[in-house]
Every structure is written in structure tokens, then in C-alpha cells.
Symmetry: C2
Subunit: 227 residues, 2 copies
């Protein structure tokens, strides 16, 4: 089995990357074994190996030093800093991000229903109602939509969720604007948000979780995202 829609060289590039990031066979600055050894170890032709290395050079993971060999580059994505790490969203597609929302946001609604302070609940309702108004006026609601979901993540009182949510949105933001052109999606959003807000007000954690799941599934279907 190979990864969906990936070429053999891309799969080999993934394997080499995993040897660096997971297996720790090669560290930053290390020289890779020569072509003969490495193509034998990976059980691929030297042509495929060369193509895989080219891909990793393009992605800033490896660098070729002329006459010296191929080296693991000092790359932010590979850094081992304790405490702070960077999440590079450049290789993610919209499907990855919505799959992550589907995992993460229903749980976020669940904990928010259990833990939100009254002030935090007020903030969520404020943004929910503001978004309804913008939809009625046919105005862009991208920013308010994000504030609605960010304020829910904040109300979980889980600092990891609180910080993760804006990162997810900043990645999604590049590709998606919440337009008012798709009438069905707009109607779903109105209904879903009201459901979410009602369950949150009743402190019904399972209800809020399910309504949020429905909301994300509606969005995925609207964008044509399938498993």
C-alpha cells in the first residue's frame, strides 16, 4: 500500500523524512550515506532515490554540498526546541484542517459547556448574535466566525486548546472565506450556531458537542470534503 495519490519518489522522500524526524537516524548536519548504500537500504532504484532527495531539497530538509555529499539541513520544522515549536501549515490541505476541526471542536464545545464563566458565555453569545446580524446584512463574517469559535476554545480553560484554535483558523484562513454566496451553507450556519449557543446556555455538554459536530460536518459537505 502506498499513500493516496503520491508518486514512488514522494513516498521514498517521506521515508527519509521519517528516518530523520521519528527514527532519529540522522540529525541536523549529518551526512546521508552514499547513493548506493541508501538505495539498497530503502530498496529503491538510484533514480527514484535521486528524485526523492530532490524533493527534500526543495522542501528545505536536505541540502547537497557539491563534491561533499547530501546533508540534513538546519530546518525549523525539525527543530527540537523545548517549550516553543512552530507549526508549519504550508503542506496542509483544507481536508487536513477540517479533519482536525472535526476532532477538536466538538470536544472544545463539550468542555466550554462545562467550564465557561458567565462572562465567557456572554462573549460567545455576543459573537454568535453579531454573526447573525452580518449574515442578515449580507456582509463578510470571516472574522466574527473565528471570534465565535475562538471564544468557545477559550472557555474550555484548557490553554493548549485556547492556543491551538487560532493556529487552525490562521491556516484555514488562507484558503477559505466564509462568503454568503452559498445560501444552504449560510442557513446551516445560522441553525447550527443557534443550536450550539442554546446548548451552551443550558450547560448541556453532550448537546453542545453534537451540535458543533453537525456544524463542522455541514461545512465539510459544503466544501465537498470527503473522507
Amino acid at each position: 500500500m502506498t499513500k493516496r495519490g503520491k508518486s514512488l519518489a514522494e513516498n521514498v522522500a517521506d521515508d527519509i523524512l521519517a528516518m530523520i524526524t521519528i527514527d532519529k537516524k540522522f540529525a541536523v548536519g549529518d551526512k546521508l550515506p552514499n547513493e548506493n548504500e541508501l538505495s539498497l537500504a530503502l530498496k529503491v532504484s538510484r533514480t527514484t532515490l535521486r528524485e526523492a532527495i530532490r524533493i527534500l531539497v526543495t522542501h528545505n530538509v536536505l541540502e547537497i554540498r557539491r563534491g561533499k555529499g547530501t546533508f540534513v539541513k538546519n530546518n525549523n520544522n525539525l527543530s527540537e526546541d523545548v517549550g516553543l515549536k512552530e507549526l508549519s501549515t504550508s503542506e496542509m490541505d483544507i481536508k487536513d484542517l477540517y479533519e482536525m476541526r472535526l476532532i477538536f471542536e466538538p470536544e472544545s464545545a463539550y468542555y466550554a459547556a462545562k467550564r465557561a464563566t458567565d462572562k465567557e458565555l456572554d462573549r460567545i453569545l455576543y459573537y454568535g448574535k453579531l454573526e447573525e446580524e452580518l449574515i442578515m446584512k449580507n456582509q463578510d463574517r470571516t472574522e466574527v466566525e473565528q471570534s465565535f469559535h475562538n471564544s468557545i476554545a477559550r472557555a474550555t480553560h484548557n490553554e493548549f486548546m485556547n492556543q491551538l484554535m487560532p493556529i487552525l483558523y490562521s491556516a484555514i484562513d488562507k484558503g477559505v472565506h466564509f462568503s454568503s454566496s452559498n445560501l444552504e451553507m449560510v442557513q446551516d450556519t445560522l441553525t447550527d450556531h443557534r443550536l450550539i449557543m442554546n446548548f451552551l446556555c443550558k450547560r448541556d455538554a453532550e448537546g453542545a458537542k453534537t451540535a458543533m459536530r453537525l456544524h463542522i460536518i455541514h461545512a465539510m459537505r459544503g466544501f465537498g470534503i470527503k473522507e
Copy 2:
């Protein structure tokens, strides 16, 4: 309702932070309204407001310029960079991180069972078996434990999950070492990992998800983490 175990000033500090990060009422470099206005707006005493500002100064969110007022500081946690963001793990406690694992890792096992290539499955099994050997030899297994879970996240073929997992572990790493001193936890880990590996080999997504959930719950109970 106020946040569990937080003082009034800490709650007010949270509110001011939300005015910056969610409501966008104040941007980096902005001067806050004077004490009178702000304490009226937040419905707290000036003493409490001053204490809240002191907390935010300590956390590098605000700075007081003598004779000029209080300003929103240029802070990495507040940055709006598109594409790359930093996750600051300094304010997270072990409960936040395990709650996140409980949300995230069962789904990671689910997608890995569905999507892992044969090579990726081999890598997962390799680390699972290596960890069993280390446990038998009574040696530290922290790094191999992480490789086991990272290789599962990688096999989801979801780039966001793949990058998130090491961030979670790097945060957990600061506080937790997987010792072999707690015999019950060691036995649970052996059993749970075997369950996870068996379900993955059978490509049983629901089974893998449930076994992973059991594994995280075992760890949470072992560390005394409750909801």
C-alpha cells in the same frame, strides 16, 4: 461563575487578554484606557484592575511606560503571522496536555488504522516491540514511547496531526518521564500497546481508537489526573 481556583484579579487579567486576542479591541502598541474608564468598563475596583495589569505585565502581555500609561506589548503569543505560529506551552499544565491527548490520539489511531502504508505499520510495530524490550530490561523508554505515538500520528497522512503530536510530546516531556517504577502503569502500557498494535494490523479503526483511548485514560489515572 469564575474559573476554578483563580483569583478575581486573575479573572480580570483573562478578560483583558480576551479583549486583546479575541475582541481585538486593543492591538499591539495600543495604549489602554485610563484606570477609571477601564475599571468602570470591567466593573471591578481600581485595586483589582491594578493587580490584573500587574499579572499581564509579568506575562509579557502589557508594559507600563512611566508617565505615559499602559501599553499592549509586542508579544509572540499575540502575533498574527500567517502560516507560522508559535505555541507557547509555558502556561499549560499536565492536565491540559493529557486532556488534549485524550481528544487527539484516539482519532489519530483511527485514521492510522485506515491509512497507514505497510512501511508505516512496520515502523509502528518496530517501536512498539522495542518499547516492550526496554520495559523488560527495566530501561528508560521515554524516547521510544514518543516514537511509537509519533509514528502513529504520521500514519494518519494528516499533516496537521503529524506536526501537532511532537509539539504535544515536547510539552509533556518537561514534566513527565515514563519511568518503570509504577508497576501497574508499566503493565497497562504493555497490554494497551499490544491491543493498539493488534487492531492496527487488522486495520480495525474503531478498535484502534478505543484501545488508544484506554491507554490515555490509564496514563491519566496513573498520574492522578481527573476531570
